[in-house]
C-alpha cells in the first residue's frame, strides 16, 4: 500500500510541476511577444490612455518574474483592478480581465464551461458504449468477416475529421431528412428534454470519432489477453467462449480503457473546439476561437491555461486510475 500511496504522491507532484511549467511557458509566450503587448492586449480600438492603463495593470515596467508573480498572485489570492473610475475586485482564481469586453476571464469561463462539459460527458457515454462494444465484437469474431468490416470502419473513424462527420450528419439529419432541428443550445436546467435533443448530433459526431480509438484499444488489449497461456488453459477446462471474453479478456482491457477515457475527456473539454464551432454551441472552444479572431489576449491565455489544467489533471488521473485497476504499474 505504501508503494501505491507513494506512486500517487509522485504523480500528483509531477502534475503540479507540469502545471507550473505550463503556466510559465504560456505566460512568457503570450506576454513577451514582440510588439506592444499593452496595445495587443487592449485591442486595436484602444486610446493611448487606455493602453497606458493596461500597461500599468499588467505591470509592464517591472521585470518579467515580478510580472509573472503578479499573475500567479491573481490566480491564488485574487487581484484588484482599477478601471479608471472605480476599483474592481477579481476574486481568487483570477485570470485577468478582457479589456475588449470588460468581463473577467473567470466569469467568461464559468458561463461557457457547462456547455463544453454537457457536450463532452454526453458524448463520452456514447463513445464508451460504441467503442467498447465494437472492440469486444471484433475481438470475439476475430479472423472473420465481422472483424475485418469493423476494423475498416474504425480505421475510417480515426481518419475522418470531426467537422466532416458533423457537417454530413447535420446536413443529412437536419437538412435533408428533417428529423431534428438544427442544434441550438438549451440549458439543462431550463429544459432537459430540449437540451438532450439539441445536443444529440454534436454528441454523435464527437463520439463517432472518439469511439474509433476505444474500439482499437479494446480490441488490441483483448486480443493480447486472449493469446495468453492461461486462456488456453481455461478453454481446455471447458470454460465457454462468452465467459472467457467477458470475464477475462474484457476485464484485462478495463485498465487501459479507463486511462484512455480520462485522457480523452480531459483533452475534449477544450478540444471540442471544432464540434462547438460547427454546431454553434457557446462553449469554451467557440469562445476561444472568437477570442483568437479578435485577439482578446487575456481570454486566450485564460482559456489555454484552463484547458491545459484539464489535460494535465486528466493525465495524472489516468495514471492513478490505471494503477488502481492494475497494481503491477506501481512496481514499474
Amino acid at each position: 500500500m505504501n508503494g501505491f500511496t507513494g506512486f500517487v504522491l509522485r504523480r500528483v507532484i509531477g502534475a503540479v510541476v507540469t502545471l507550473f511549467a505550463l503556466s510559465v511557458i504560456i505566460y512568457v509566450v503570450f506576454y513577451v511577444t514582440p510588439g506592444n503587448v499593452a496595445q495587443i492586449t487592449c485591442g486595436p480600438r484602444c486610446s493611448p490612455a487606455q493602453v497606458h492603463q493596461v500597461a500599468q495593470q499588467l505591470h509592464l515596467d517591472d521585470p518579467l518574474y515580478v510580472r509573472y508573480g503578479h499573475f500567479l498572485q491573481g490566480i491564488f489570492a485574487g487581484q484588484d483592478y482599477s478601471t479608471g473610475t472605480s476599483v474592481e475586485h477579481c476574486a481568487a482564481p483570477c485570470l485577468g480581465q478582457s479589456y475588449q469586453t470588460g468581463r473577467q476571464v473567470t466569469d467568461v469561463i464559468w458561463t461557457k464551461l457547462p456547455v463544453s462539459v454537457s457536450l463532452v460527458l454526453g458524448a463520452m457515454v456514447i463513445w464508451l458504449v460504441l467503442g467498447i462494444g465494437t472492440g469486444v465484437l471484433s475481438a470475439w469474431r476475430r479472423g472473420r468477416f465481422t472483424e475485418r468490416a469493423l476494423t475498416a470502419v474504425t480505421l475510417a473513424g480515426t481518419a475522418t475529421p470531426v467537422f466532416v462527420i458533423g457537417l454530413v450528419l447535420m446536413i443529412v439529419v437536419c437538412g435533408e431528412l428533417r428529423l431534428l432541428p438544427f442544434p441550438q443550445y438549451v440549458n439543462l436546467t431550463d429544459d432537459p428534454e430540449q437540451w438532450a435533443w439539441n445536443l444529440l448530433l454534436p454528441w454523435l459526431s464527437l463520439a463517432l470519432i472518439e469511439a474509433a480509438g476505444f474500439a482499437r484499444l479494446t480490441r488490441a488489449s483483448m486480443l493480447e489477453t486472449l493469446a495468453e497461456d492461461h486462456i488456453r488453459t481455461f478453454r481446455a477446462y471447458g470454460v465457454g467462449e462468452r465467459a472467457i471474453i467477458v470475464r477475462h479478456a474484457l476485464r484485462g482491457a478495463t485498465a487501459s480503457v479507463i486511462a484512455l477515457n480520462a485522457v480523452t475527456v480531459g483533452s475534449a473539454v477544450g478540444g471540442a473546439v471544432l464540434t462547438e464551432t460547427l454546431f454553434g454551441l457557446p462553449g469554451i472552444g467557440q469562445e476561444l476561437v472568437h477570442a483568437v479572431k479578435v485577439v482578446d489576449l487575456p481570454v486566450v491565455v485564460g482559456m489555454v491555461l484552463v484547458t491545459g489544467f484539464f489535460v494535465v489533471l486528466a493525465n495524472a488521473l489516468a495514471d492513478v486510475l490505471y494503477a488502481v485497476a492494475d497494481r503491477r504499474v506501481v512496481l514499474a
Binding site: 505550463l22 475510417a156 481518419a159 446536413i171 473546439v273 483568437v292 489555454v304 491545459g308 489535460v311 493525465n315
Partner: protein, 357 residues
Amino acid sequence: MSEALAVVETAGTDTTVPAVSGARQFWRRLRAQRAALVAAAVVALLVLVALAAPLLTALEGQDPTTYHPALIDSARGGVPLGSFGGVSAEHWLGVEPQTGRDMFARLVYGARVSLGVSLGATVVQVAVGIAMGVAAGLGNRWVDLVLSRITDIFVSMPLMIMALALLAIVPNTFPRPVLVALIIALVAGWSTMAKMVRAQTLTLKNLDYVAAARLSGWKTWRIAVRELLPGLAAPGITYAALLIPSNISAEAALSFLGVGVKPPTPSWGQMLTSADVWYQAAPQYLLLPAAALFVTVFALTVLGDGVRVALDPRAASRLRVGTGRRRENRARAAVPENALPEKALPVKSLPEKEGPA
C-alpha cells in the same frame, strides 16, 4: 545473386538474422497487404495531382484565384449559376459560391497546401523529436531530467487550443502555410516522438555494438549518428507515417476555424467553413473538399498502418511473407547440383563409400 549467396551461408545455422536486406524485406511485407498497396497508389496519385497542379489547371484553362462574378447569381446571395453549382466545359467542377472561383483549380491547389503543410510539419516533428529523444537518452542525468520534463509538458499540451492561441499573436506578415506547419509541428507530435526515441535510445545504448563503439573512444555525436540513428529508423519511420495524416487533419481543422491558411490560398478545411450554408445550391462545395480530405487522410492512415505492420516483426509474422528464404531454398532445391549434396549424400553415397574402403 548476393542474396542467394547469403542464403547458402546462413542456411545451416539457426540465426534469425534475415538474409534479405531491410529495404527489400520492407517492400515484401508492404506488398503483402492489399489495403496498404491500394492506399499507397491513392497517395501516389494525390502527390502527383499536387505536384502537377499548375499543369492540370492550365489544361482546364483556369486558376484558383480569379473571381468570376458573371458566373454567380448576385441577386440570390452569390449562388453559382447553372446546374450542379455551375459545372461546365470551362469549369469542370463548377465554381465557388459568392466568388465564382474555379472549384477544380481550388481543389487541386488545396492538395498542395494539405500535403505540403503536413509533410513540412512532419519533417520538423521528426527532426525535433529525434534530436530531443537522442539527447535525453545519451545525456547525463540532468540533461535527461530537464529534456524529459519539457517533453512531458508538451505531451500534455492541448494541440488545438495552443495552435489556435499561437496563431493569434504571430504577426500576419509571416507566410501563413509555413507558420501553420511550424505551429502544428512544434505544439504537437514531436513530444510523443521524442519519448519514443528516448526509450529506444536507452535500449540501444546498452547493446554490445554501441558499447563497443563507446569503448573504442568514439565521440557521443558520432555514436548517435553512426550507431543509433540506424536503429531508430524503423520506429521513426512508423511514427512519421502515422503523423502525416494527423497533421493533415490539424491543418484542415485550423483552416476550418478560419485561423489556418488564409484566403486567397485555397485549403480544403477552409472551403468547408461555409459549406453548410451552400450545400443545397452547390452541393459539390461541401462534398468535394470533404471527400478529398477523407480520402487523403484515410489513405495515409491505411498506408501508415501498413508501414507499421511491415516494420514490426511481430505484426509482420502474421502476414506469412517470410524473408524470402524459403523460396530461395526451393529454387535451390530445384537445381540438381545444389540438390545433390544435401539430399543424396547421406542416404545413397554412404554405402558406396563403404564399398571400396
